[in-house]
Amino acid sequence: MIEKTAISIPTEGAMGKTGTWRVFKPILNKEKCVRCWRCWVFCPDLAISRGDYPVIDYEYCKGCGICANECPTNAIKMEREEK
């Protein structure tokens, strides 16, 4: 292509590692988890994937706390990020 126009390519981390935006951090307590996958479906940042148990990708989790708020068993807790 010779002409330049505003074409962009799908890229993971297009805005960088957005985990750095986080102030609070979700911590999973597997014991409590019933694998209902609500945390997975509601995460706006695709930071939870479906393994045996939810796997949180801290590189991209922005720490919104929706997962914790929506978890029916309180298996996720938000903790102040220590830096």
Binding site: A6, I7, S8, I9, P10, T11, E12, G13, A14, M15, G16, K17, T18, W21, R22, R35, C36, W37, R38, W40, V41, F42, C43, P44, D45, L46, A47, R50, D57, E59, Y60, K62, G63, C64, G65, I66, A68, N69, E70, M78
Partner: protein, 299 residues
């Protein structure tokens, strides 16, 4: 269908530019699971244009055309016609527009495309204001809500775009919201399988705009339905069906007090009792309208 049955395919990539706790990304994520890869997104100026991240990268993994604010349905018309001529009718153009781009500046293009019978899906994700430019009132902003152009609360009732769309008598109309992902998924899927113009509106509670904590996005969505402020339904060829919790409310389940929803939102903090009363009345009216519609059908 349970949440676990939703496909694990994703068409949005991690590390996008949405706010933490953004409802729009949740909605789009689920919608794309239903729409699949044979989708071309058309996106007018809005938060969704920003969420994509900066050129030369994008966080969207389906072909996406950004277009001028008022023009999304027209762009989709062009795409639909071109796809037909090029023998690619298996691909569907899907407009993904905010309420500003749908209720206000994009209404005309939308109405025109509906009237022409354009073969596309139009999704209005409704966060009830112009959030991308920093929270100004839109036609969808509810009565009484604070925005940066309605400092003392909006003086007018919101438009009802779904009702306007109904007047166009198109094959498929539905409302949805993020707290009901299976419902949203099913409606998208149903729309995907039909032909002609299809319209889906998704309520998207936005933390910075509505002024609530970012962890409450889904909760606000759920409460909107359970208090009756947002009604979930679908209209297939003119026939209405209520879905999820709205169906339950219709069938007699009690609505949660509206105050539960209002009080959690900073934008409604200043409301007086009579304002709340006015909102309640308008919600009652809306239910009345839909009930009658439902009833009429049964006649």
């Amino acid at each position: 269908m349970a949440i676990k049955d939703l496909p694990t395919e994703e068409y949005i990539l991690k590390g996008h530019a949405g706010c933490p706790g953004c409802p729009v990304t949740i909605a789009l994520r689920i919608a794309l699971k239903a729409l699949g890869r044979k989708t071309i997104l058309v996106i007018p100026a809005s938060c969704s244009a920003v969420i994509q991240s900066l050129h030369p990268k994008t966080s969207f993994n389906v072909p996406t055309l950004n277009i001028a604010f008022e023009a999304s349905a027209a762009a989709a018309s062009g795409i639909a016609s071109a796809l037909k001529m090029l023998g690619k009718e298996d691909i569907i153009p899907v407009v993904w527009a905010g309420d500003g781009g749908s209720y206000d500046i994009g209404l005309q293009a939308l109405s025109g495309a509906l009237e022409r019978g354009t073969n596309f899906i139009y999704v209005c994700y409704n966060n009830q204001m112009y959030s991308n430019t920093g929270i100004q009132r839109s036609g969808a902003t509810p009565y009484g809500a604070w925005t940066t152009t309605t400092w003392s609360g909006k003086k007018e009732m919101e438009k009802n775009l779904a009702e306007i769309v109904m007047a166009h008598h198109i094959p498929y109309i539905a409302t949805a919201t993020i707290a009901y992902p299976e419902d949203l998924y099913k409606k998208m899927k149903k729309a995907r399988e039909m032909k002609g113009p299809r319209y889906i509106e998704i309520l998207c509670p936005c933390p910075p705009g509505w002024r609530f904590d970012m962890s409450k996005t889904v909760e606000m969505s759920r409460l909107a339905v359970q208090t009756g402020a947002w009604i979930l339904y679908e209209i297939i060829n003119g026939k209405i069906e209520f879905t999820a919790d709205s169906k339950r409310l219709l069938e007699g389940k009690e609505r949660k007090p509206l105050e539960e929803w209002l009080k959690m939102q900073g934008r409604f903090r200043h409301l007086k009792e009579e304002d709340i009363q006015k909102i309640k009345e308008s919600i009652d009216k809306k239910w009345e309208f839909f009930k009658q519609m439902n009833l009429r059908q049964k006649l």
